[in-house]
């Protein structure tokens, strides 16, 4: 039954059919808590769309719209600050040294639609980012980039955080990392995401290591 719901929800998302997606959320039944619905339906649908983008069967426009629709729907049934949102480490996301926001917006939407909460730092430069991360005691930092020079600056972020003895896990993503699957190690990241839905499993793996 859940598989059929996931399939129908996925279809609604890739067709950018907000009404059909909303209908599925509303029909979820009283015994399905928002968190359980996010885990059982929303996340698998977003993972399937993310995997489809990597394989070339879905387009970035569909990934983006799916994230936005899900984020809105989940916010309605599971508002920010709701105690049911996942017990999680302190996380933040930013764009490094760039004005291309799309990747960050999609990852932010996917994570929030999957029940996570995280700070959105917007566009940051290296020194400001390091200062903010230290000030907020961030444990997991997600950095999105589009351009190669921005990706290479992550190395400086890592070095400065290490120097300050900040115990932060760095997760990176964006075009340069998809075109060179060794680059994330070169810049000193702890993990990379090939698409937005990867971020959920990468964070869950890091959380297991922290437990």
């Amino acid at each position: 039954m859940t598989d059929k719901i996931v399939d129908a929800f996925t279809r609604a998302l890739v067709d950018v059919d907000r009404l059909a997606a909303k209908q599925i959320v509303q029909n979820r039944g009283h015994d399905a808590s928002p968190v359980k619905f996010a885990e059982d339906v929303v996340l698998p649908a977003l993972e399937s769309i993310g995997a489809g983008w990597q394989a070339g069967t879905f387009a970035l426009s569909q990934v983006y719209m799916a994230g936005r629709i899900c984020e809105d729907l989940i916010d309605q049934i599971l508002p920010p600050e709701d105690p049911d949102r996942k017990n999680q480490p302190k996380m933040a996301i930013c764009i490094l040294s760039d004005h291309h926001k799309l990747g960050k917006i999609i990852v932010y939407s996917f994570l929030r639609a999957s029940g996570f909460d995280l700070a959105d730092y917007g566009v940051m430069e290296v020194d400001d980012l390091v200062e903010q991360v230290q000030k907020d005691s961030i444990e997991i930092l997600l950095i999105s980039v589009l351009m190669l020079p921005s990706a290479l600056k992550i190395k400086a972020v890592k070095q400065k955080l290490d120097r300050l003895r900040c115990d932060v896990k760095l997760i990176v993503g964006g075009a340069p990392f998809r075109f060179d699957d060794r680059l994330w190690k070169t810049v000193g990241a702890d993990a990379m995401c090939r698409d937005a839905s990867d971020a959920v499993s990468v964070i869950e793996n890091i959380m297991k290591g922290m437990a």
Binding site: A59, L60, Y64, L148, L152
Partner: protein, 346 residues
């Protein structure tokens, strides 16, 4: 054909005609390496057309490739619309805050006057001087952003998607403005001496939009725009995938297509056969850490998969070589195409 007696122009025209020239043509689409060649910071380099002319000529002599790339940087068009260009020391200039801050701004967007916009005049001056230097021996490739892809820099990707899906009237108006600019800008470059125009259209790739959406938007825009450009064009997907829309791209009237390294160039070549020349598809990002042997192997693979029968130009997959790619890798690519790209290939 004998390799030494054939000019780059003849080599490229032959392959565009889907015949085999003396060897596979090689487009080194390098902009920033010109600054390295003349020993200037990137911002200084692009401030004077004389630097770009010198940089391109030195690159041509050094790497023995088959085109001049009169492209400066993508946000030159954003500067023409009144936007900000951010220079860095180690990468291509980037566009700053979007010029369209809210969707309502689209109604007031004016078409830039190409002939009276200093940043564009510099490109035209460089193109004219490069033409004086190479005459008709080497094709000069000018560049425009497609009207359909330019909004990513004008307003940001996210708000552009929202516009495409939710505000068709404003989308149509933006396309009209951008088309008028694109046609005038392309034709000014051709008049200045460009041989052909590279029409960068990554948003049309299936990496970014669905085929259904493309047929309603980017395809129509490309067909209308390319028909008004007074010279040959090549459509470049700037690393985006295009295999599912190859026939559609051919239907826009373009002569060639820039192909992603995420696609098998053999499959793309088969789909393009007799209709489009394939340009590609070396991975520019990975290239930063290639050895000379890696470079040679990648070049050999592209030639083996796509070289037969002409209709193939060896190049990177993005249309711009990253600044971090070492000179010896570029040299190894050049050596490899000169060694392994000679026809007949076997």
């Amino acid at each position: 054909m004998n390799q030494t007696s054939v000019t780059s122009m003849q080599r490229v025209l032959t392959t565009l005609g889907h015949r085999e020239p003396d060897r596979v043509p090689f487009f080194l689409l390098a902009t920033l390496h010109g600054a390295k060649e003349v020993g200037l910071p990137i911002k200084t380099y692009f401030s004077d057309p004389a630097n770009v002319v010198e940089g391109q000529m030195r690159l041509l002599a050094k790497y023995r490739h088959d085109c001049i790339y009169s492209f400066f940087y993508a946000p030159v068009e954003i500067a023409a619309f009144g936007g900000e260009v951010i220079f860095t020391d180690d990468g291509p200039p980037n566009s700053g805050e979007p010029v369209i801050k809210k969707t309502g701004d689209i109604k007031n967007l004016a078409v830039p006057d190409v002939k009276n916009t200093p940043c564009l005049e510099k490109v035209l001056t460089a193109t004219h001087r490069l033409k004086e230097r190479v005459k008709d021996t080497v094709p000069i490739i000018g560049v425009v952003m497609s009207p359909f892809s330019l909004p990513v820099m004008q307003m940001g990707f996210d708000r552009y998607f929202d516009l495409m899906y939710d505000k068709p009237d404003l989308f149509a108006h933006l396309m009209q403005v951008n088309q008028a600019f694109c046609v005038e800008w392309a034709n000014a470059q051709l008049a200045a001496g460009a041989t052909a125009i590279c029409y960068f259209d990554p948003v049309s790739s299936t990496t970014i939009t669905t085929r259904d959406m493309y047929l309603k938007t980017g395809f129509t825009v490309a067909g209308q725009t390319l028909a008004k450009i007074n010279g040959p064009t090549a459509t470049h997907m700037a690393s985006g995938r295009c295999l599912p829309i190859i026939d559609d791209i051919a239907g826009t009237g373009t002569a060639a297509v820039g192909v992603s390294c995420h696609e098998d160039i053999a499959l793309v070549k088969n789909a393009c056969r007799g209709k489009l020349t394939v340009i590609g598809n070396l991975n520019g990002i990975e290239m930063c850490r290639w050895s000379s042997e890696d470079a040679e192997n990648h070049v050999k693979a592209v030639i083996a998969k796509a070289g037969a029968g002409g209709g193939c130009i060896l190049s990177d997959n993005h249309g711009e070589i990253p600044f971090q790619v070492p000179d010896d890798v570029l040299m190894a690519i050049s050596e490899a195409v000169h060694t392994w790209g000679r026809y007949p290939l076997d």
